[in-house]
Amino acid sequence: MSELAFFIDYSRCIGCQACVQACAECDTHRGVSMIHLETIQRSESVQTAPQVCMHCEDPICARVCPADAIKKTPDGVVQSSLKPRCIGCSNCVVACPFGVPKYSAEIDQMMKCDMCYDRSSVGKKPMCATVCPSGALTYTTMEDIQRTRRGIPINSWKFGGEEVRTKVYVMVPKAVERVDVDLVQITATPSALPEDPYDVALMLEGM
């Protein structure tokens, strides 16, 4: 069996927050969730999106850290800041293209999702991807995800001029190779979508 990997499928998310609530139950940081759920624009849609650390191959948070406090494990998991090193400057918080690291004033340290390293390093699934009832967060093998899902997993992003590759994959429609964030929309979004696809009043027009 090949290596287990983390996959996010935003189209499956139901916004239930089981991931956020379960994250706060992890033994290494009990009581504090390291991940969050974005409610995109509730007035327009029920779309939500869970945000875990994407674990960049070349983590920007670590690159901008003046104290060299953010380390990546040999298996590619980007850890929270090292307590003796972190100076609480929040460079990482500002620099992360995914908005993941959070500065905790209470402990004067940056904490972030470490893919439940205490669990995943011993073969268990991260807490969020274990409980997620919709399968929006999944921790499984590449073969399994390719066999069971319609979309394809990609881990290549472009933020303006900055290309980023991540350990965490996102599920996208076939033919998408990279998420271009400066275009706001994924490039392969069908142009046939109506202008406001989630307005119930528009659906009732023609009555």
């Binding site: 499956r12 139901i14 239930c16 927050q17 009581g31 939500t48 659906m203 027009e205």
Partner: protein
């Protein structure tokens, strides 16, 4: 007395709801768990497997249970935080008695039980046996549900016993019985991902049955088309292949409109209908009137959506229907469900892999608790209390004369009405919070005050428990042992993790303690819930829901057993109707010519807007448990009134404004949430909150004539902008009915 002994803020101060946020020992406690107990979530009918972490007789956390086949470790936020109800500061730990002007004072168990028994006797001697009513719940285990039915008929000997499944599963159950003769989802959930067309009618799956979401998405990833019917674009509707924003109460328009097209296109199985069913022609004659135009008018949606639904459902090789409260909470709830499941029957896509239907039970033991004889018209094994053969069999099991078993009693809403009319003078209530969960809450509160004696068994003092003369501290799910039957009809085992705290007692012991002071005391000498299960097995033998072939050991070994399981060697029955035999005397399934009719209260000039009510993902039912868990309340703190921007503009209401939502029966003041994801003629208010925030202040006390389910999903209201409330109730915490 049954009146509040002191004012509400003073009660809240002492008994909550208050918020519990930190596990016992604090977030950072170290040390080893003593036990990891494999059991099930206490909340909804999905009954997810979960492991509870236990130290020093305290539940300190949870661990996913990935080997349990139904949810494979998945949980919703309620499941994740459920353990926070353990060690809760609001927990009732000793019997209490009402003291006018002072509140509730502790008394001994013997004094409390003696008082309960003597009040039951006094009321029954003065007003007759049926003047004492019993209301129970569908979150009770099978063992407790069975015990409550026997307790009412054998110890108290009252006909007036009913349960809060009356607010939940009865329309679905009655419809399935009428069409197929059996009240159970026809398939295990593992059939859902194998279907190529899925119709979800009136089920906010993402919020009310979150674990089912993955089954739906698996089906879609396997190429299924998903149709969702709901007045609101729910989380699963957002990505459905076809979303039909049906007007609440207009569902039959969609179902019959689809069927008319299917008949015309030949998308029904004539051979199956001919061989295995009866009544199709009469049904087809009714359906024939539902032209796309007429169907669209009834459903309140454009006709092309109904045509598209027929085009997806009709020719599909395999299909699965899921329905829930959205079509069931109506004064025509049974007819709605019949119309829905006849879409399944007419295609013959039933009783095989990837083909069938399910009703999504809402409450923890929504399935099992409706089979063991705690309904007003029912005996164990889903037997009929009016059937002489059924009565004779159960009388034999109980060792009582058949004629001593009372007849059919009143269902929940009429039972409350009988209290209001002075016909029922005493009430025992367990696992039910009717001042929050029954419709027309102002009426419910007024009726309760007329009771001469009211005893409540619960683990927290609910908003209804505040009216009690005696409160008996019962047990949480994890403080006792027993079985429940999940949404699929799979009987599963809840294991005991900890003992009830201090002087609280297991519910079944409390009932047996009361019974020991009443008639037939010798019929209630159980030493454990396992004893009760062994009797339940025998009582269910030969009934529709036959558990006779089950043992707790078998349930454990096989991760649950599906009923019917009539013999010890029987493997259980995950999928019904594989033999195309139905449980009617003629062996056939029966079509019924149901027709659309208006809801009890349609919008008019004075009250021009439709109110529909429902749930949010972080709360469960009347909120007695979830409004006490900080993390869940934080997620959705107070009820909001969802409305479309078009309606908001017409009413001059902006996001976050306080609005008064008012019906002919009552009102709430809540904040507005303006969203494009709801029909412009409809507003939505979730019902988990009490008092001035209770959506049921507005709902109508109209019930389905067959199932007696209340019409929670539609009543007429008006909505207006209002000032920020400043009264004392509004200043309470949001968990207690306050508003911010």
């Amino acid at each position: 007395m049954a009146k509040l002994p002191i004012d509400i803020p003073a009660i809240v101060d002492q008994f909550g709801p208050s918020l519990h946020r930190v596990p016992p020992g604090g977030w950072n406690q170290t040390g080893q768990d003593e036990k990891l107990v494999k059991t099930h979530c206490c909340f909804c009918g999905q009954q997810c497997g979960i492991q509870l972490r236990v130290r020093e007789n305290r539940v300190v956390g949870f661990e996913p249970w990935e080997d349990f086949p139904f949810n494979k470790g998945k949980l919703c936020p309620k499941g994740v935080k459920r353990y926070m109800q353990d060690e809760h500061p609001d927990r009732l730990k000793t019997p209490l008695q009402r003291v006018e002007g002072k509140g509730y004072e502790p008394i001994s168990w013997d004094a409390a039980l003696d008082r309960v028994a003597s009040e039951i006797k006094r009321i029954q001697q003065a007003y007759g046996k049926d003047a004492f009513g019993i209301l129970t719940g569908a979150s009770l285990t099978n063992e407790k549900a069975y015990l409550m039915g026997k307790f009412a008929r054998v110890a108290v000997q009252t006909a007036n016993l009913d349960y809060n499944g009356r607010l939940c599963m009865v329309s679905a159950g009655a419809a399935s019985k009428k069409v197929f003769g059996i009240d159970r989802s026809a398939n295990p959930w593992s059939d859902i991902p194998k279907a190529k067309a899925i119709l979800v009618a009136g089920a906010n799956v993402g919020e009310c049955a979150p674990i089912t979401t993955d089954y739906l998405w698996q089906a879609r990833d396997n190429g299924a088309k998903l149709i969702v019917m709901d007045p609101r674009m729910t989380p699963i509707a957002r990505n459905a292949d076809l979303f039909i924003p049906v007007r609440s109460g207009g569902d039959i328009g969609v179902f019959h409109g689809m069927m008319r097209i299917m008949i015309q296109q030949g998308w029904i199985d004539r051979d199956y209908i001919e061989k295995y069913t009866a009544g199709f022609d009469e049904y087809a004659r009714v359906v024939d009137r539902y032209t796309p135009e007429y169907a669209a008018k009834i459903a309140g949606v454009p006709a092309d959506l109904i045509v598209k639904a027929a085009e997806i459902w009709g020719p599909a090789p395999t299909s699965f229907l899921l329905h829930a409260r959205g079509i069931e909470h109506h004064s025509k709830g049974v007819e709605n469900c019949i119309a829905a499941i006849q879409l399944v029957l007419a295609t013959g896509r039933l009783g095989r892999e990837g083909c069938g239907y399910a009703m999504i039970t809402g409450q923890g033991n929504g399935q099992g608790a409706r089979e063991q004889g705690q309904k007003c018209d029912q005996l164990p094994g889903n037997r009929d209390i009016s059937n002489p053969e059924h009565r004779k069999y159960i009388a034999g099991v109980w060792g009582v004369p058949e004629e001593s078993i009372p007849g059919k009693g009143l269902s929940a809403v009429p039972l409350l009405e009988a209290i209001n009319d002075g016909k029922i003078k005493g009430l025992l209530l367990i696992c039910f919070n009717p001042t929050v969960s029954l419709p027309d809450a102002n009426f419910v509160r007024k009726a309760l005050e007329k009771l001469e004696f009211f005893v409540n068994i619960d683990f927290f003092l609910s908003e209804t428990g505040r009216y009690a003369d005696i409160v008996l501290p019962g047990s949480l799910m994890e403080e006792d042992e027993g079985t429940t039957t999940n949404v699929e009809g799979r009987v599963i085992h809840h294991r005991k993790a900890v003992s009830p705290p201090v002087d609280a007692r297991e519910d079944w012991k409390i009932i047996c303690d009361i019974a020991s002071r009443l008639e037939n005391a010798d019929k209630f000498r159980y030493s454990s819930p396992h004893d009760i299960f062994e009797e339940l097995r025998v009582a269910s033998k030969g009934g529709i829901s036959d558990y006779y072939g089950m043992t707790w050991e078998k349930i454990d070994a096989e991760n649950g057993v599906f009923w019917p399981c009539p013999e010890l060697g029987h493997p259980g029955t995950p999928r019904l109707y594989e033999d195309k035999k139905f449980n009617h005397p003629d062996g056939k399934a029966h079509f019924h010519p149901v027709d659309w009719r208006p809801s009890a209260e349609m919008p008019d000039e004075e009250y021009p807007i439709i109110l529909t009510t429902g749930r949010v993902v972080s709360h469960f039912l009347s909120g007695t448990q979830t409004r006490r868990i900080g993390a869940l309340l934080d997620q959705y703190s107070q009820p909001l009134c969802e409305m479309h921007p078009k309606l908001a503009e017409k009413l001059g209401i902006a996001e976050g404004d306080f609005v008064k939502v008012e019906s002919r029966r009552g009102h709430v003041v809540v904040r507005a949430q303006i969203v494009k994801t709801i029909r412009p003629d409809t507003v939505f208010v979730p019902y988990h909150w009490p008092l001035d925030r209770s959506a049921n202040n507005m709902t109508i006390r109209a019930i389905d004539p067959i199932s007696n389910i209340p019409e929670y999903k539609i009543c007429a209201v008006r909505v207006m902008k209002t000032d920020t409330p400043t009264d004392r109730i509004s200043q309470l915490g949001m968990e207690a009915g306050g508003v911010r």
